[in-house]
């Protein structure tokens, strides 16, 4: 049986081909054909193919709202421990990310979690005698020290829209704090909350002082490049960046830390979310084979290989992380709040991501205030987010 498997991870082609080889060896008779598409257009291609009835048998799908888009239309085969037994052991938040809220069914095997944190260049830190900061003041001090040493403190640029969201929550999760998150989820507060807007103000201040000159015009790949080439000391980003940096500069020595809160006592939180999952086509011709493949993708041996080869935090329970950095990220994940907008505010339009990305760009450009952002977010989301509709 031949099944096709679509992905947006062009950069992981080689790894996936290895995984598939392993699967095919264990399951003679099933051939998996891997197709990777440009990430930016993956949505369009997948939607088109599914709507046209010629979608792949197995595919990578996004999580949260992105999943619902596809799954709610009935294109995906629901899965459960019945057909994918391994699912039973997965963490609840991971499964929730791949479920449709309305029917509560799971539609995909989650593959990785991502963590928004601060990555730093160990060599540079060591050379300048710097330590991972424990409080916001220390963060500022570290930045100032780097700057004095002629090194760009943070490599980040915000010209690429989604980087604004990353910067906001990679740097601000601890400032906002768990209380705020809980209150927001309860519906007892909204984005005009002081804890939220205050964090935005701090972030903007740091950005203004310690991001590269003209960072608002700096795009994502350039920012990556700045960090990877050792011109900058820190990079606010996701755990997925580490592999890239390694690839760009194999000699780089990295460390990670969760951006600190106001004081050293505040819990240090990272922003955590689930990236996406593997789903089977409900209208696929070879559904059995597809499910079998999903089972493999949910298996610990795949999870382990995934973590080892792709340097990602696999969601498969029981995977261990040889890579010390990964292990450290995994450690940091124990103290986290969800990556807010993606996890909760991408179920309608305008999505929280759209809003915060644009608003933060404005803030960085000095064209709005944190309070106005809080207002804009709240009223904007009220268009579809019921708790905000007063």
């Amino acid at each position: 049986q031949d099944i096709t498997f679509w992905s947006w991870r062009q950069e992981d082609r080689a790894a996936y081909e290895q995984f598939i080889e392993a699967f095919e060896a264990a399951n003679p008779g099933i051939n998996v054909k891997f197709e990777a598409f440009e990430a930016a257009n993956y949505n369009t291609i997948l939607s088109t193919a599914l709507a046209g009835g010629t979608g792949p048998d197995v595919m990578m799908v996004r999580a949260y709202g992105g999943l619902e888009n596809v799954a709610a239309a009935g294109y995906l085969e629901p899965i459960s421990p019945e057909n994918v037994p391994a699912l039973a052991d997965f963490a609840a938040p991971a499964l929730a990310a791949e479920s449709v809220r309305a029917d509560g069914k799971v539609y995909a095997v989650p593959f990785a979690s991502q963590t928004q944190l601060v990555i730093y260049n160990k060599e540079i830190f060591d050379a300048n005698g710097l330590e991972e900061p424990q409080s916001w003041d220390e963060l500022v001090a570290v930045s100032q020290a780097l700057r004095d040493a002629g090194i760009i403190p943070f490599a980040n640029g915000t010209a690429t829209a989604w980087q604004n969201e990353t910067v906001t929550f990679g740097l601000g999760s601890s400032l906002m704090g768990e209380d705020f998150y809980d209150a927001l989820m309860e519906g007892s507060t909204d984005f005009t909350d002081e804890r939220f807007t205050g964090a935005l103000g701090e972030i903007a201040a740091v950005a203004a002082d310690y991001f590269p000159d003209g960072f608002i015009g700096l795009d994502y790949p350039s920012a990556q490049q700045l960090f990877a080439s050792g011109m900058a000391g820190m990079f606010i980003g996701g755990s997925y960046e580490m592999a890239t940096f390694q690839g760009l500069n194999p000699d780089i020595e990295m460390g990670v830390f969760a951006a600190p809160g106001k004081t050293a006592d505040d819990p240090k939180l990272v922003g955590l979310y689930f990236d996406g999952g593997y789903a089977a086509n409900a209208a696929g011709a070879n559904k059995d084979a597809a499910i079998q493949f999903l089972n493999y993708l949910a298996s610990p041996e795949f999870g382990q290989a995934f973590a080892n080869t792709l340097s990602n935090i696999s969601t498969v329970p029981g995977v261990s992380f040889d890579n010390p950095l990964l292990a450290e990220v995994n450690e940091l994940n124990q103290s986290s709040i969800p990556y807010l907008m993606l996890a909760h505010f991408r179920y309608g339009e305008p999505s929280g991501s759209v809003l915060i990305q644009g608003e933060m760009q404005k803030l960085f450009a000095g064209e709005t205030t944190p309070e106005a952002i809080g207002e804009a977010l709240t009223t904007g989301l009220a268009a579809w987010y019921e708790p905000f509709q007063k």
């Binding site: 598409f37 440009e38 291609i45 193919a49």
Partner: protein
């Protein structure tokens, strides 16, 4: 009036007072040419550099023996295959566009018949349609025609996309051709088809070239439709093949530029080689 004559009639070297004005025009031209060429030169240069080099010295002349970027593309992709596919798809599409476009434009431009304005409007409307929106119905159409994963799907879409501009440009041009030529050919006993083929078409070459260029570039460079219609690696076109490949190197500007250079090179080379004919064709419309 002949063209060569008209240009040389307009030659006024040696006349007083022209030096200043011509000098200004000459400066404009040179400045423009520098501006036009610099980015392309930088692109080619960058293709031979490593990413840090690009960032640190974007203008410097590279070490042209550094072929690592190209090698990466050459060895890791089906480059030749993509190139051939691109030639095939672009070539066939252009042939169809120019043939069909000229046919329609000729009918609309040369004959008066009821509905010709409507038909022209129909084509012109096609000019304005955002075809990306239609990707899903198009996809289903291709599926029903069983040409998904087949270059015919691309050729058909490109042809249809190219026709409105072609008809639009050519109709206007064909209308300006002198009637007496047609009369003369008719007296010579040429059939309508013959008049079109032997007399009028050679004269609309300039418009064909304009329409051709207007279409060949987007077709050659398009990667949206192949992305959706073509999954088989052997059938991919150059931009699609390369973007797929370059997706793996988003941050390696060196490789990126060599990819861009490689995908641009064929069309630039063709353009430079054919530029004489192209420009002559585009600008030799004069008929007495």
């Amino acid at each position: 009036m002949s063209v060569t004559a008209s240009t040389s009639y307009y030659d006024r070297r040696g006349l007083l007072g022209t030096l200043g004005r011509d000098g200004l025009l000459q400066i404009i031209l040179i400045a423009n040419t520098v501006i036009m060429l610099a980015p392309i030169v930088i692109m080619v240069f960058s293709a031979f550099k490593t990413t840090p080099q690009i960032f640190q010295s974007p203008f410097s002349i590279p070490d042209f023996t550094h072929l690592g970027n190209f090698l990466k593309i050459w060895t890791q992709t089906n480059f030749l295959r993509y190139l051939l596919n691109s030639f095939l798809v672009t070539g066939v599409s252009m042939a169809l566009i120019l043939t069909l476009g000229t046919m329609a434009a000729y009918a609309i431009g040369r004959y008066q018949f009821k509905g010709s304005t409507f038909i022209l409007m129909f084509f012109i409307a096609g000019l304005t349609l955002p075809l990306k929106l239609a990707i899903i119905p198009l996809f289903m159409l291709m599926r029903d025609l069983s040409i998904l994963n087949n270059q015919l799907s691309l050729i058909f879409v490109y042809t249809a996309m190219g026709l409105p501009t072609t008809v639009f440009i050519m109709t206007g041009f064909i209308r300006t051709l002198p009637n007496e030529l047609e009369d003369a050919a008719r007296m010579d006993g040429a059939s309508e088809a013959r008049i079109m083929w032997s007399i009028m078409l050679p004269l609309v070459r300039p418009a064909m070239v304009i329409a051709g260029i207007q279409n060949v570039v987007p077709i050659w460079n398009d990667f949206f439709f192949p992305l959706v219609f073509i999954q088989n690696d052997d059938l991919k076109t150059l931009p699609q093949g390369l973007t797929t490949f370059m997706g793996e190197y988003t941050t390696d500007w060196g490789v990126l530029f060599s990819g861009l250079t490689l995908s641009a090179a064929p069309i630039i080379l063709i353009y430079i080689v054919l530029s004489k004919q192209f420009i002559a064709g585009m600008t030799s419309g004069a008929v007495k």
